[in-house]
Symmetry: C2
Subunit: 338 residues, 2 copies
DNA sequence: TTGAAAGCGCTAACAA
DNA sequence: TTGTTAGCGCTTTCAA
């Protein structure tokens, strides 16, 4: 059925060791026999068996991307960046969706170990110092900080800075009463963005009003409800910084329903720059995370440690967030015109 | 380094064949020794080597999903459906983005063969009867029809019916001058949707006006430009059926910019029901493709043929499209109110 | 430059 | 119920 190295050895009248050498371009094969072998191999439609090779070489040239949910608009670009980079470097990539479930994550990690992937990119389902990561054998790099775990390299984004930039933009655009509507309180990135928010307020001598800081979930509904509560209680802000774009979209929806004029009387900024944000009908001002780059860099870093052999030190790569001004905030220059 | 079956055999004082049997739950091992073996294995932190196993068993329990671009909003749900189903059935899944490039597709297919995946789900980059698919060894199921290739099973959607339903909805909603703004002319699904459109017009005795049928690309800009051309030439329709949602979004944008009142004076319907379509700010009426189901069913079908051993006949599974009425078309009932 | 042979970790006859 | 052994397809010493 499957043509093997032996079949072609027989046909070419050489030992199969020689065939292996020829096929792998190893030195020490007469040019003549090498050509013969290559020709025979081609004629017979030989397909190398990566499984057999993996068994002896002890690496598989396959990586894995373990993320919560490819359906979440934050992840496709990361996946694409990762896959493009992997492909370029000669690796295939397993896609695993944990569905934000630590048990499923554990299970995948186990399977991936059995399948002997060379390395893993992991965006943990939760950042609560999960113990199942601790004694992991395979090189792994994280897409999200896990507090208290220093063992793994990671690609991160400077959330504090992102939060700062976002809030600064709102302030400079002239908004006065700026709320922070965040996601899960226990999420480190949420906490960091909030910290950036506070930092910016402080810097501009704006008192921090705790009634304007709301935690919820990283969901559109959560953004909607949070703003609604603020409005209903007569505590309407004139701008909100959403913990991520999905939240900001919910805020936007609520603001629109309440007839708030955007961006004139009400400003909204998000975080992530998911594809939705740039739709003509949305035009959400936001803080861009370089998602494609994150995936790409993660793979590149991973492969570098694979090649390094000896235990390389853990490295943390911090990427810079970027302000994308669109239509849900007043433009700074416009403010200056006044 | 890696603990193997032999290590645990030595420790447990049995032959490694027995260990293999015990580990795999095969019959013919005394309960007592089995327990011992399992215990020793656990204590030693044994991790089965799927590569070695794959070599002898000749299957790897891994599948591949080869699609044009995970970043295209049409695919994440398919991928998720596929991955969920695969995971449930005990398979891992490679993700491959061809970037709509047939050469890259070819290359991936080759790699996947070398890695000995058990089966492949392929959404071809192009549907132009690509010859490189013909003599493929691995079971494969297609997510898109390729004209003239009957060798592969497929999961398809009834595009003609979808086009029919879409157009019928427009007609019943009272729109009179209905344009079809499609994607690539050579695309079979585009052609089929157009056919459905014509069928509906015929059924309602509306003459087909070729000046109202436009082919372009499956891009937002294409939808925008196509409508603009119609408007600029004084041939403005009062409704358009977009070849897919992305096109429809472009149409929507253009219509909005031209101050057309939607849905009162101008109706828009798309095709696919990508996530964007249901955003509060968009609310695009469309024809839903059951994307998650497509991925799921594709995997299930694939695994079924893998299990079947003997060459099963090729089967084509046709899924039904579904009308999703949102805010870019008049509601039928509203029309009846008049 | 080539061949013989061991071995990667495992499963599955076949014997005992 | 258990052990012996061949072999999956390949790479890589070690000899020739």
């Amino acid at each position: 059925m499957q043509v093997t190295i032996k079949d072609i050895a027989k046909k070419a009248g050489v030992s199969y060791a020689t065939v292996s050498r020829a096929l792998n371009g190893r030195s020490g094969v007469k040019e003549e026999t090498k050509e013969l072998i290559l020709e025979v191999a081609k004629k017979m439609g030989y397909q190398p068996n990566a499984i057999a090779r993996g068994l002896v070489l002890k690496h598989t040239h396959t990586l894995a991307l373990v993320i919560p949910d490819i359906t979440n608009p934050f992840f496709p670009e990361i996946a694409r960046g990762a896959e493009d980079a992997a492909s370029l470097l000669g690796y295939s990539i397993f896609l695993c969706n944990t569905n934000w479930d630590t048990d499923k994550e554990k299970l995948y990690l186990k399977t991936l170990q059995e399948k002997r992937v060379d390395g893993i990119i992991l965006h943990p389902a939760h950042n609560d110092g999960e113990t199942h990561l601790y004694d992991f054998q395979i090189p792994m790099i994280l897409l999200n900080k896990i507090p208290g775990i220093a063992e793994y390299s990671s690609i991160e984004i400077d959330n504090v800075r992102g939060g700062f930039i976002a809030t600064k933009h709102l302030i400079e655009a002239g908004y006065k009463k700026i709320a922070f509507i965040g996601g899960t309180e226990s999420s480190p990135s949420n906490a960091e963005r909030k910290e950036g928010y506070k930092l910016a307020l402080k810097k501009y001598n704006i008192p921090i009003d705790e009634s304007l800081i709301i935690n919820g979930k990283f969901k559109s509904e959560s953004g909607y409800e949070s703003l609604k509560k603020l409005i209903d209680s007569g505590n309407t802000p004139d701008a909100v910084f959403g913990g991520n774009d999905v939240i900001a979209l919910g805020v936007l929806h609520c603001a629109q329903e309440h007839g708030l004029r955007i961006p004139e009387d009400f400003g909204i900024i998000g975080f992530d720059d998911i594809p939705y944000a740039s739709l003509p009908q949305i035009q959400l001002t936001t803080i861009e995370q370089p998602k494609y780059q994150m995936g790409k860099r993660a793979i590149e870093l991973l492969v570098r440690v694979l090649k390094a052999e000896e235990d390389s030190e853990v490295i943390r790569m911090i990427l810079e967030p970027k302000l994308k001004i669109r239509k849900t905030t007043r433009n700074v220059s416009r403010k200056l015109d006044k």
